[in-house]
Subunit: 202 residues, 2 copies
């Protein structure tokens, strides 16, 4: 028989659900301790008691976002598991692009939130990052056989695709990028896949 939830556990679940709705509807600026406490019907003190501070809450939200992103990309990867490097990388990159577009505020919070506390990120957060990078590394395994180089490659490939998506979402470099985003992603993945294939054996 399941233990009944304590007040603290229930508050955590309720606040996370509320904060996620606020984040999705209004963006990071909506995540103010006083407003969340007021809407959750608890005191700011209770909120801090559960999450430490607002950083703690945002880090939990970001960990949940990374987890959803990881599952979404894992599904995209599974659909191309029998395909070659190009199609696998493209599935991951387009999956990343779509997740960013459909979860704009939550996705931005992962990359834009400036933490004020010095507490390290929780293990689950780092694990979600590693799982994401592992999918990319897996795609390249046939061509990049040394594990350390494969790990470096996965981080660089992630950052490259992230850069194309993030600049387009911000629409900062010229005004044309957002409309052209999918073409940019397809071009970049094409070049990257050919470059990795051509490096096989070097």
């Amino acid at each position: 028989m399941q233990e009944p939830m304590t007040y603290r556990d229930r508050l955590r679940v309720d606040v996370l659900a509320l904060a996620r709705r606020l984040l999705e509807a209004e963006g990071l600026d909506a995540l103010q301790a006083r407003r969340i406490a007021s809407e959750a019907g608890c005191s700011v003190g209770s909120l801090y008691n559960v999450f430490g501070d607002i950083d703690g809450l945002v880090v939990e939200l970001n960990a949940a976002t990374l987890d959803r992103l990881g599952r979404s990309l894992s599904d995209a990867f599974q659909a191309e598991v029998a395909a070659g490097l190009h199609d696998q990388l493209l599935a991951l990159a387009l999956g990343y692009m779509r997740f960013a577009a459909e979860n704009r505020h939550a996705w931005e919070a992962v990359f834009k939130y400036q933490r004020t506390s010095v507490v390290p990120e929780p293990e689950s957060y780092l694990e979600a990052q590693e799982q994401l990078l592992a999918l990319i590394a897996h795609s390249t395994a046939e061509f990049i056989t040394a594990a350390p180089e494969r790990e470096l490659a996965a981080r660089a490939l992630f950052a490259a695709v992230h850069g194309v998506v993030a600049l387009a979402m911000d629409n900062r470099i010229g005004g044309k990028l957002r409309a052209d985003l999918e073409r940019h992603v397809r071009f970049l993945v094409g070049v990257l896949a050919r470059g990795i294939e051509a490096s096989g054996g070097r």
Copy 2:
């Protein structure tokens, strides 16, 4: 004989120099109208009279940063003008990385400043972006012969390198990136150059 500067012209020059020092020393948050006016010895009204609003001031600072970046990358490119695609792209990418590291706050302001006004960016700003992209496009001209594809390629390549640099500067995806930044840039440029060379004729 040169016309003497008007009060308005002198204020513009003084405020831009002051704002640039504030930005470099303390970052974007230091650019508050009241503080700048106080340190420049003018009223907030005079400040707005010259720059429109704080957005106008930041856009002028950002245009100056893009101009300095462009000149720095142009020098890097000239040094490799007789080299091949890989060495040219690497010079541009490493030049970009160094500029970002050495002008951290000014560089971040270009990409992170959230404008509040709807006035379009000035022509000089867009021109500085185009010049930067033209350097990249020039590197690839031997392999990507169609101009529209070359322009798309330049934007995608810029965004890819920017992504690697920006994530490392933020140090967001894992804790290892900052130290590994130059290795990531070299890996990425290596893959991109091979990929572009391999695509010649396709």
